[in-house]
């Protein structure tokens, strides 16, 4: 009698303990082989791209019957995706294949969690150099090791709301507009008397979509080649930033403070902006917005200093070095760079496929819109400046520029201090 009671207690205790253990092992991705089929996990962050990723997976699974791929979606916002990925990689449970952007590539390469794809590429017929823009391939190549397959890229263009232009009797923007044309249109729109709360344009403190393109077009620079110094004190750099502050001071845009509360994308989506600059990734958002989608179109980024301003940034498919199914994962990642996969992605119109022969599908995905504005000059676009301390640099840059955008301090003074602070960060993180 007594003995059985003891066993019962022991069994119950064990059951509890095991339940607790299994709790600690929860979450995470990992991969498992079940009944001969290989299951791969695929980490992504964009809900809008889930459907197209799913159709790509379907196409892959059709020809690879023994492979099953599960999507793991973690939102990008607030760094959740990266926080989770870091923790999972440290614990050995990162997704087998996952999205990687240029911003995080070097850190992840240094962390040793990315599989070197060179051998797989040699064996396959996927020729990266021949089929992809050089800038994108190089962004994912460290010490001659290719650590990701370029997925897509984004550039910027000027969107406008036809209804507001019509009402004000101002001519629509065109592909060969210059910055001065933009400023003149802002003036005309304002003079025509817009509805209350409606502005001609928006000038938020936004690096990728607003001031980096003009900084580069103006001959300025942000980061030097060996990533030891920043170029904020260069007058040419400041000229590329000042041009947006000028428009702001003319009252063509809501204040930078107001724009930090309500993003320009939201204002444009609500019909409160006649024009806005936006990355190509905003296209599905605008076209699915019933309030504006019938009255909008886009043109190329207005020329500045006689040059075509733009910044190009992109994503890649990386393979987790600790994956239990490395070969299968690498095979899938390489396939994602194939003509077939890039075509499916391009035709969805959600993003611009990185592969040269698939870029056209994006522009063709919506005949009503001038989407070629994004791809026309993509070969001239500058890559986003990145280094290991870039998250910190972007933050001090944003914080410093607030004073210049609000008119508290002149831009030159702000940039003086900014350079000192940013260079100190570079020096500190280098050691």
């Amino acid at each position: 009698m007594k003995k059985t009671r003891g066993f019962k207690v022991l069994a119950m205790g064990m059951a509890f303990a095991m339940a607790a253990m299994s709790l600690t092992a929860c979450g995470g991705g990992g991969s498992a082989s079940k009944g001969g089929a290989t299951t791969l996990s695929f980490g992504i962050w964009d809900e809008k791209q889930r459907p197209v990723m799913e159709s790509m997976i379907q196409a892959y699974e059709k020809t690879h019957e023994n492979v099953k791929i599960n999507i793991q979606l973690t939102p990008y916002k607030g760094g959740e995706y990266w926080t989770k990925l870091e923790a999972a990689a440290t614990g050995g449970t990162a997704p087998d294949v996952f999205w990687l952007n240029v911003l995080h590539a070097e850190d992840y390469y240094d962390g040793g969690i990315l599989l070197d794809l060179n051998d797989y590429l040699k064996k396959s017929d996927l020729d990266l150099e021949k089929n992809f823009p050089e800038a994108l391939v190089k962004s994912y190549n460290f010490e001659n090791k290719q650590i990701a397959i370029p997925k897509d890229f984004d550039t910027n263009a000027l969107w406008y709301n036809k209804e507001i232009f019509d009402k004000a009797g101002v001519a629509y923007p065109t592909d060969d507009w210059t910055y001065d044309d933009l400023a003149a249109a802002c003036k005309d729109l304002k003079a025509a008397g817009l509805d209350e709360g409606v502005y001609p344009f928006a000038c938020p403190i936004d690096f990728q979509t607003w001031y980096y393109p003009t900084v580069y077009a103006n001959g300025g620079w942000i980061l030097n080649a060996d990533k030891t110094e920043t170029g904020y004190t260069d007058p040419k750099t400041q000229g590329g930033i000042q041009c947006w502050i000028d428009l702001l001071e003319e009252g063509y845009s809501p204040t930078a403070a107001a724009l930090s509360e309500t993003l320009p994308d939201a204002m444009f989506g609500g019909g409160s902006l006649a024009m806005v600059l936006a990355g190509s990734y905003m296209t599905p958002e605008y076209t699915s917005n019933d309030a504006i989608n019938t009255k909008i179109n886009l043109v190329e980024f207005p020329e500045f200093n006689g040059k075509e301003p733009n910044v190009i940034n992109g994503l890649g498919y990386a393979v987790f070095a600790g994956s239990k199914n490395k070969d299968a994962a690498a095979d899938f990642a390489l396939w994602l760079g194939s003509e077939e996969a890039m075509k499916i992605q391009g035709e969805s119109g959600v993003v611009i496929s990185a592969r040269n022969d698939a870029q056209k599908y994006f522009a063709d995905s919506n005949k009503d819109l001038n989407l070629a504005a994004y791809t026309n000059h993509s070969s001239e676009a500058n890559p986003l400046p990145v280094c290991k301390s870039v998250a910190e640099i972007y933050d001090v840059e944003l914080e410093a520029l607030k004073a210049a955008y609000s008119g508290e301090k002149p831009l030159a003074d702000v940039c003086e201090q900014l350079k000192t602070d940013a260079d100190a960060i570079l020096a500190k993180n280098k050691k």
């Binding site: 509890f16 600690t24 990266w82 040793g112 403070a257 107001a258 309500t262 944003l398 914080e399």
Partner: protein
């Protein structure tokens, strides 16, 4: 004879203890894995430079030295102290007031209790989003009211001068419900006979409140005080959600935990972040010890 019984008891007791420990093993394991081990690891990390993937290199006291040189950190400490200094007393007074009101026999008390408790069970992210819209300069409810009064609208959470106070309002609003429930429970434990005796002696309601309710409730008030001070020092989620990086009032609403979060998760300086967390821990510890000593003077346990 005596010896054998003793031995038997000891054996039985050991067995009982064993069973007891067996039952709490899962919990102990959990506490060790999720609290004790990370605490020790964090302490160790604060003397190291730790990269994103937890590779640590010894760094001595440098993290602490950097911390003392970090102006932003000092500013955040100031913001945090201001936040605690204002939200805790105000929040406590308000909870006490609401609890006293809800302790009286009025119609629909359960309805009011639910209303006041609602913020405590609502996700802080959702709370932050709603308040963000209330405070919005262009489309917000608050400015709509301000305009209706004929005044000019204000950027409530983008103006560095007002932002922290607007955030404090949300903080107080969010904690009143929970504290009120605890205080209410305490109030209902006070015997009616005290009040009856006081009423016979002619003491007013306000006098009764300060001479009977507050002293009798002092252990509960003390508990609420300790927990609100601790959670005040740890304030993070609502502010993080309400005031984004691009916000012009970002620096003036930044708290210690936000600096910790940024260093740990945005910049990958986990060692430095660990040192900040040790600082937060030490401050909370110090303040709590002071309160524990101070309580002897005013907390009534009879």
């Amino acid at each position: 004879m005596q010896g054998t019984t003793k031995k038997k008891i000891a054996k039985r007791q050991w067995k009982e203890w064993g069973e007891g420990y067996l039952f709490i093993t899962p919990l102990l394991l959990g506490i060790f894995i999720f609290y004790i081990f990370p605490f020790i690891q964090n302490f160790w990390f604060s003397f190291n430079e730790v990269n994103k993937f937890n590779v640590a290199t010894f760094y001595g006291l440098n993290n602490y030295i950097e911390m003392f040189k970090d102006k932003e950190l000092w500013r955040a400490l100031g913001n945090t102290l201001l936040y605690v200094g204002i939200t805790v007393p105000l929040g406590l007074a308000l909870s006490l007031f609401v609890a006293a009101l809800l302790n009286t026999k009025i119609r629909g008390t359960s309805f009011y209790r639910t209303i006041y408790f609602l913020p405590s069970v609502t996700m802080s992210a959702a709370v932050a989003m709603v308040w963000r819209w209330i405070y919005n300069e262009q489309y917000g409810l608050l400015n709509a009211a301000v305009k209706a009064l004929g005044l000019s609208p204000h950027g409530w959470i983008t103006d560095p001068k007002t932002a922290l106070f607007m955030v404090m309002i949300v903080g107080i609003w969010g904690t009143v419900g929970y504290n009120m429930i605890i205080l209410l429970a305490g109030m209902q434990g006070i015997s009616r006979s005290y009040y009856e005796a006081a009423a016979v002696d002619g003491a007013s309601g306000i006098r009764q409140f300060f001479k009977i309710t507050v002293p009798m409730l002092s252990p509960t008030i003390f508990f609420v005080l300790i927990t609100s001070v601790i959670s005040g020092f740890q304030v993070f989620d609502t502010i993080y959600m309400m005031v984004g990086k691009a916000n012009t009032a970002y620096r003036s609403t930044q708290t210690l935990v936000m600096i910790f979060y940024r260093n740990a998760f945005d910049y990958g300086h986990k060692g430095y972040a660990a040192a900040i967390s040790i600082l937060i821990f030490s401050i909370i510890m110090l303040v709590t010890v002071i309160q524990m000593i101070g309580q002897r003077k005013w907390v009534n346990y009879d």
